[in-house]
Amino acid sequence: MKMVYYCDECKKRPATVHITKIHNNKKTELHLCEECARKHQEIPFSFEPNFSIHKFLSGLLEGTPLEVPTLPSIQCPNCRLTYEQFSQIGRFGCSQCYHTFGERLDPLLRKIQGNSRHTGKVPRRAGGNMWIKREVERLRAELQAAVREEAYEKAAEIRDRIRELEQRLK
């Protein structure tokens, strides 16, 4: 019959980690289960948690009906990552991947983010015209408010500013 050691610490789970310490010529043995063994040491330098967000995400991707074989396989022309590889590692290879995988991403993003549209900050340069578009939207709302308050002078100023920005968009 095979001997089963139980964990010295919790006395519940079988011991799978065996530590032998020799200190001042005295030998001590410790038999621990994995859980208690982990508690025994401080975070070692190479500590790698079992849970990986990327593995978790790739699990989400596998379960989606997006991967029906009728969809042609796509490969990012820039970094050569395929959609299959992306769904395995849960990470994109380059910013172009977003464009390459396009609408396939929407269901995934809704699943993990609850949304699929950015409404926040727009960078001045990379955002291009978008910064102006957002500014126009914001000014239109201000214009309406000004009209409601019958602040016509202010409304006219805002209207001119909108026209100016719209000129830049053309």
Partner: protein, 358 residues
């Protein structure tokens, strides 16, 4: 302060022990994930490409004009640091545990001289701009992060798209690329067994609770990090103001729990606080876990006015001084767990000796 100095000093900006709600909120952090459009993400990039990205970022930050606006940054690559030194940066919350596992010259860190702003280069994304402030100061941290972001964007070509916003390596960061978090000390909620309830509510509100060092780490010393889960959809201001509102609620709950402890169990709390003080001031061998627990009691004792004479800053500094890597860095050699426990106890005794506690 240079990065080499930062490695030998436990103290860093977030430990000031000041700022709003400093008795419960240790620090506030804002992190922005950004990528450069012309390069593949770090995990797909060659070492050469990685170094090029570092050079670009270094170039921008060392420009005199940029220095005037953003302050003075020091640079280092992970390859220039020993594993121990990288771990010290993790313990000070200046880099992530993942970044510390890298040892290449293509993984970098730019650290502002006040240590409030750090930029990891080629972690999961090309840039991770991080701002860490003491107390509950998320709005201020966001403003600084956004300013650093603006200045970098003037000279670096960001990957941005109208629909998905800032494009990131992992789809969990896309959109704003913003992760805001608040580190809180919640001993009374723990003692009154209300933590699970609070955390369940937080997760329903789209917040995540993590341990001391972020993703995948355990909560020690009753310290918890609360952060936003969603990065795509809401604006940065919405994300920040939501987290601030939620944090205020948690602070209120913790205060209520402390008050009820004061009413119902003052003697037991006093006993706990003084026992912990006794152990910390006298022990010769102490593990970091045990020390964290007692330091939590000490902090609670000070906040509740049971114990006087020690300030929050000293306690915050101890959070780093007692960590394994920092102990070894200061000792100048590698140590096994037993020797670290000896050294740790000595460090704590020495700090507490300087204070007359009453």
């Amino acid at each position: 302060m240079s990065i080499k100095d930062a490695l030998n000093n436990a103290y860093t900006k977030w430990m000031e022990g000041s700022g709003p709600y400093a008795s419960i909120v240790i620090s506030s952090r804002v992190r922005l994930a950004r990528n450069l459009v012309e390069f593949p993400f770090p995990h797909q990039a060659s070492e050469e490409t990685g170094r090029k990205v570092i050079q670009l970022v270094e170039g921008v930050l060392s420009d005199p004009q940029v220095r005037k606006r953003l302050g003075v940054f020091d640079f280092v690559t992970m390859g220039e640091l020993s594993p121990l030194e990288r771990q010290v940066l993790v313990e000070k919350h200046l880099i992530s545990p993942q970044h510390a596992q890298e040892n290449g010259y293509n993984r970098g860190l730019a650290l502002r001289d006040d240590e409030a702003v750090s930029i990891m280069v080629n972690e999961e994304d090309h840039l991770r701009i991080q701002v860490l402030f003491p107390g509950l100061q998320l709005e201020a941290a966001w403003e600084v992060a956004s300013q650093v972001d603006d200045v970098l964007e003037e000279r670096l070509d960001y990957a941005f798209e109208e629909k998905y916003g800032y494009l990131t390596c992992c789809p969990t960061n896309v959109g704003t690329g913003l992760r805001a978090s608040v580190m809180m000390h919640l001993p009374a909620l723990k003692m009154t067994q209300q933590l699970n309830q609070v955390f369940t509510t937080l997760s329903k509100l789209g917040m995540v609770v993590r341990g001391l060092y972020g993703e995948g780490t355990e909560a020690k010393g009753n310290l918890f990090q609360i952060s936003n889960q969603i990065t795509l959809g809401p604006s940065e201001e919405e994300i920040i103001s939501n987290l601030v509102a939620v944090s205020r609620q948690v602070i209120e709950q913790e205060k209520l729990a402390r008050e009820s402890l004061r009413k119902e169990a003052l003697v037991q709390i006093e006993d706990r606080v003084y026992r912990s003080y006794g152990i910390l001031a006298n022990a010769y061998i102490i593990s970091s876990e045990e020390a964290m627990d007692h330091l939590s009691n000490l902090r609670l004792g000070i906040d509740m006015g049971i114990l006087r004479g020690i300030d929050n800053r000293t306690l915050n500094e101890l959070l780093v001084k007692i960590r394994p890597a920092f102990i070894q860095k200061i000792a100048g050699r590698e140590m096994d767990a037993f020797n670290r426990d000896l050294k740790r106890a000595a460090i704590i005794r020495e700090v507490l000796q300087n204070y007359k506690v009453w």
